[in-house]
């Protein structure tokens, strides 16, 4: 097994410099004319009450691709931060880049000023500065951390974060982190430019005269709408090498085990732009936690994990070598590791499956799962009786002749949604798609995780929401514009989404695009309204809203302050798919959290 030497606590405890002593930080090597060092693959571990992290520029190479990287403590991914529920932690982050940096602790409950979003929670960390994060640990589970500055997350500035439970956990014998990400030799700003300039620049799985099984009529319909039915991922294996703990598919990463052991795999999607399908062929997985929060255990053979989500599973593999496969949702590549009881034995991964094609359901034509696979008219509603018809009946326009008009009927939008060039589609009949297993996984013949499978293990307080809020996810693929309610972050400067302190709100996210978006609310856990019942709605920090569908959550706004709210696809956020959520007023001393 390739692994990095452990970083002991002893060499971590050093005199940390505060902001005042910023000038004491030596110049980075590259600034003194020295060449960049190579960042190591994989990560060490840091823990304890005081932790030091240093952000610096490096080279990084994997899978025959090499390029610039931003590494933390010299590794990509950065070190595993291992904490314990109930402790206090002080983390000094030193910036040796030539640009500002930051660290966001994804999924952690903490005072807002330590949430690490420049311009929302704090000013950011200037070159040469050290910023000290200090907060109590109020939870346990599997999380991660990453930069919230520019596009550094794409360059390697991320790592895993594990919080041990205050009480012993007897559910497993062995504990592994499976941190999924991508590496590209291309500078992320150049990727952003290519997405703006070149149509489907990275997509080499389009429907062509020789590929794809769509009928001519269907192709014409998609063409008339000026939409691409193979628009699954914006950035693909054409430039990405998919990584597991920083190791590419050819690196032979091994997870060793002894037959009979129960292994906890902490699967973290730390990618910038990739949803992964996770499976270990022949080995069922018992899901025990989602986004760090325990759920009622259930068994699956495969699950799709959106960017920024985490799932914990327990596996008990038989003797032998088993491929742990993280297949990119668009099937343009995969991350691979071996789960093996024989050191040095690599498991052969299964081949990539066929590329995924969007269906009528993904256009917001109502739920087609279990129907006719998105052909012709609209089939059964997959058991959904109550459809959001909004105004009028889009089904009248189901003959393809008037499809254009029903695909952008802006009269269906609430008044606060800004209609403009940045909005190329309005889902005609968006339905709740919480029971959809993810693009490409609705037709497989084994058990796949769905949000409707998730039930909180410990009951939540029973409180009814007092207000509902509808937020539309809007975009224009052709111009590569992405926004909430038709307004880019740069256009909503002082118009945040406001919650009253301790208010309980039911938020409905309506996806008026044909892409799946992982939407993340900082500083809180919300409860998915997935039919599990008010007491057992699963807690999450990130929710996938399926194309043309809706997802609804209940949130109790009990963390005062300013919080970021955004799509966790990095280039969507960069294009403007972000907002600020404010929770006011701050409770007076002695009341509330």
């Amino acid at each position: 097994m390739t692994s990095s030497p452990l970083i002991t606590r002893r060499n971590l405890i050093r005199s940390t410099v505060g902001l005042a002593a910023a000038s004491a930080v030596p110049l980075p090597a590259w600034a003194m004319g020295q060449s960049l060092t190579h960042a190591r693959q994989g990560f060490g571990e840091v823990s304890g009450e005081r932790i030091a992290l240093t952000v610096d520029s490096h080279h990084f190479g994997v899978g025959g691709r090499s390029g610039h990287a931003v590494a933390v403590n010299g590794t990509v991914p950065g070190p595993l931060v291992r904490l314990r529920e109930g402790q206090n932690v002080r983390i000094d982050v030193t910036n040796r880049l030539a640009e500002d940096t930051s660290i966001h602790w994804h999924g952690l409950l903490l005072p807002f000023q330590f949430d690490g979003v420049p311009g929302v929670s704090f000013p950011g960390i200037k070159p040469g500065e050290t910023f000290t994060y200090e907060f109590p640990i109020r939870q346990n589970g599997t999380y991660w951390w990453h930069s919230h500055s520019g596009l550094q997350e794409q360059e390697g500035h991320y790592g895993p974060l594990i919080i041990e439970s205050a009480t012993p956990d007897p559910r497993y014998d062995r504990d592994y982190v499976v941190l999924l990400s991508e590496f590209t030799p291309v500078h992320p700003h150049e990727i952003a430019r290519k997405l703006k300039v070149g149509e489907h620049y990275y997509n080499y799985q389009m429907q062509t005269a020789t590929e794809g099984d769509m009928s001519l009529e269907e192709r014409l319909m998609w063409g008339r709408m000026r939409m691409n039915p193979r628009d699954i991922s914006d950035v693909t294996g054409a430039t990405y090498t998919f990584l597991v703990n920083g190791h590419g598919p050819m690196d032979g990463l091994e997870y060793l085990f002894t037959p009979g052991e129960r292994i906890r795999l902490r699967v973290i999607n730390g990618s910038a732009m990739t949803f992964f399908n996770i499976r270990i062929p022949g080995v069922p997985m018992t899901v025990i936690a989602a986004d760090g929060k325990d759920v009622e255990e259930f068994e699956v053979d495969e699950f799709q994990i959106g960017t920024a989500e985490t799932y914990d599973v327990i596996v008990t593999p038989p003797d032998g070598s088993h491929a742990l496969v993280a297949e990119a949702m668009d099937r343009s590549g995969m991350g691979v590791a071996s789960l093996t009881s024989h050191k040095g034995h690599r498991a052969a991964p299964p081949p990539l499956r066929e590329p995924v094609t969007l269906t009528m359901a993904d256009m917001g034509m109502g739920s087609m799962e279990g129907g006719e696979g998105g052909h012709g008219g609209h089939g059964g509603h997959g058991g959904h009786g109550g459809m959001d018809h909004g105004s009028g009946d889009a089904m009248a326009g189901m003959d393809h002749g008037s499809m254009d008009h029903s695909m952008r009927d802006t009269s269906k939008l609430p008044d606060n949604v800004k209609v403009g060039p940045g909005l190329d589609m309005v889902a005609p009949m968006p339905v709740d798609r919480m029971d959809f297993p993810g693009l490409g996984l609705d037709g497989v013949d084994h058990r796949v995780l769905r949000y409707t499978d998730l039930k909180a293990k410990r009951p939540n307080p029973h409180r009814m929401p007092t207000r509902s809020l509808e937020i539309h996810l809007t975009g224009n693929m052709e111009r590569y514009m992405w926004s909430f309610d038709g307004k880019k972050f740069s256009a909503v400067t002082d118009d945040p989404i406001r919650f009253a302190y301790d208010e309980r709100v039911r938020v409905k996210l309506v996806n008026d695009t044909m892409m799946a978006h992982p939407i993340h609310l900082h500083g809180h856990f919300f409860e998915l309204v997935n039919g599990a019942g008010m007491m057992n709605q699963p807690l999450k920090h990130t929710v996938i809203v399926q194309p043309g569908g809706t997802a609804t959550f209940d949130v109790t706004a009990n963390e005062p302050g300013d919080w970021a709210f955004h799509c966790h696809l990095l280039y969507h956020m960069h294009a403007g798919m972000m907002q600020t959520v404010t929770v006011r007023p701050f409770p007076k001393a002695g009341e509330g959290a």
Binding site: D100, R193, T210, P421, M434, R467, R498, G531, R584, F586
Partner: protein, 309 residues
């Protein structure tokens, strides 16, 4: 797709394109729409989903109004009190700018080709570039052609302001300067974008410094044979509102140019092509050419490069 089909398709697409954005201007701020209540919130009805706890169904319709008054209390920006208003204001400006205000650009050599026809081999360039944001862009265009070993016969430059008027189309307005056959300047007004059926359309009207009105419509379609081998039918039609004797142009349709180019994308940015092109003078313009003893139409073999950066 036969090239003969291209022209009616473009002409069909144009009104569609126009219709596509005719209403959008009014949508800014919903000026034309009556105010309406937000759609009533409905729970996902999970009938049919097994093992349902129906307690969630008793929520009923929740009010969807503004947040309670106390949500507006306290500081506008909570971090100001901790890190200072000045530092946070700068960080906020930067944060907003880097989440939606990206300016970028490209230079696209659409056609750089040799045109091999019996008797006279010609070269042609057709370049476009832009720089700007999502809504407003500076657009630059240049086209021209000439004979190998001869002089440049036609050359023009355009400098335009492009403004997004709908999801797929930009309005373009600006100046055009002809360098050859003689110096002449024009005002330009046009639209450019993606029409239904994925046709890239560029249509513009020109008002010259002599008061002549002309127009040009072009469209092309990328038909992917494989992921990298692309067949592109292209058509261009020119019109004139009046006779322009010094350019041997008669009023009406003046010129049709069609082409079929087969390119191979070694990279998206680098694609050599071969093709065949057909050009014809039309109507009165063709009559003028015939009287002068010139050819009115001709076929050429095309060898060229499509590239961008």
């Amino acid at each position: 797709m036969k090239t003969a089909l291209a022209l009616p398709l473009i002409l069909f697409a144009l009104p569609a394109a126009a219709q596509d954005h005719s209403g959008h201007a009014g949508h800014e701020g919903h000026a034309e729409e009556p105010a309406k209540a937000p759609a009533p919130f409905k729970l996902p009805d999970m009938t049919g989903a097994p093992q349902m706890d129906h307690s969630a169904h008793q929520v009923g319709d929740l009010p969807s109004g503004p947040p309670p008054a106390e949500a507006f209390e306290g500081p506008q920006h909570a971090a100001d009190a901790i890190f200072g208003a000045e530092a946070m204001a700068a960080a906020r400006a930067e944060n907003h700018a880097t989440h939606g205000e990206m300016t970028t650009g490209t230079v696209m050599v659409e056609r750089l080709e040799a045109r091999v026809a019996d008797g006279h081999d010609a070269f042609l360039w057709d370049v476009q570039g832009w720089y700007g944001g999502d809504i407003d862009k500076f657009v630059f265009k240049s086209e021209g052609e000439g004979e190998f070993g001869g002089s440049v016969e036609d050359a023009e430059l355009q400098a335009l302001w492009g403004h997004a008027i709908g999801p797929f189309f930009d309005l373009q307005a600006g100046l055009r300067l002809d360098v050859e056959p003689e110096t002449r300047s024009h005002l330009v007004l046009g639209v450019q974008g993606l029409a239904p059926y994925m046709w890239h359309v560029d249509a513009a009207a020109f008002l010259s410094d002599r008061g002549d009105i002309t127009a040009r419509v072009e469209g092309e379609y990328d038909w992917k044979l494989t992921q990298r081998l692309i067949l592109q039918p292209r058509a261009e039609l020119e019109l004139s509102a009046q006779d322009i004797p010094e350019r041997e142009i008669g009023a009406g349709l003046t010129k049709l140019e069609t082409g079929l180019r087969l390119r191979y994308e070694f990279a998206r940015e680098f694609a050599p092509y071969v093709g065949v092109g057909y050009e014809a003078k039309l109507g009165e313009t063709a009559d003028i050419a015939r009287l002068a003893g010139e050819d009115t139409d001709g076929i050429a073999l095309l060898l060229g490069l499509r590239a961008w950066f």
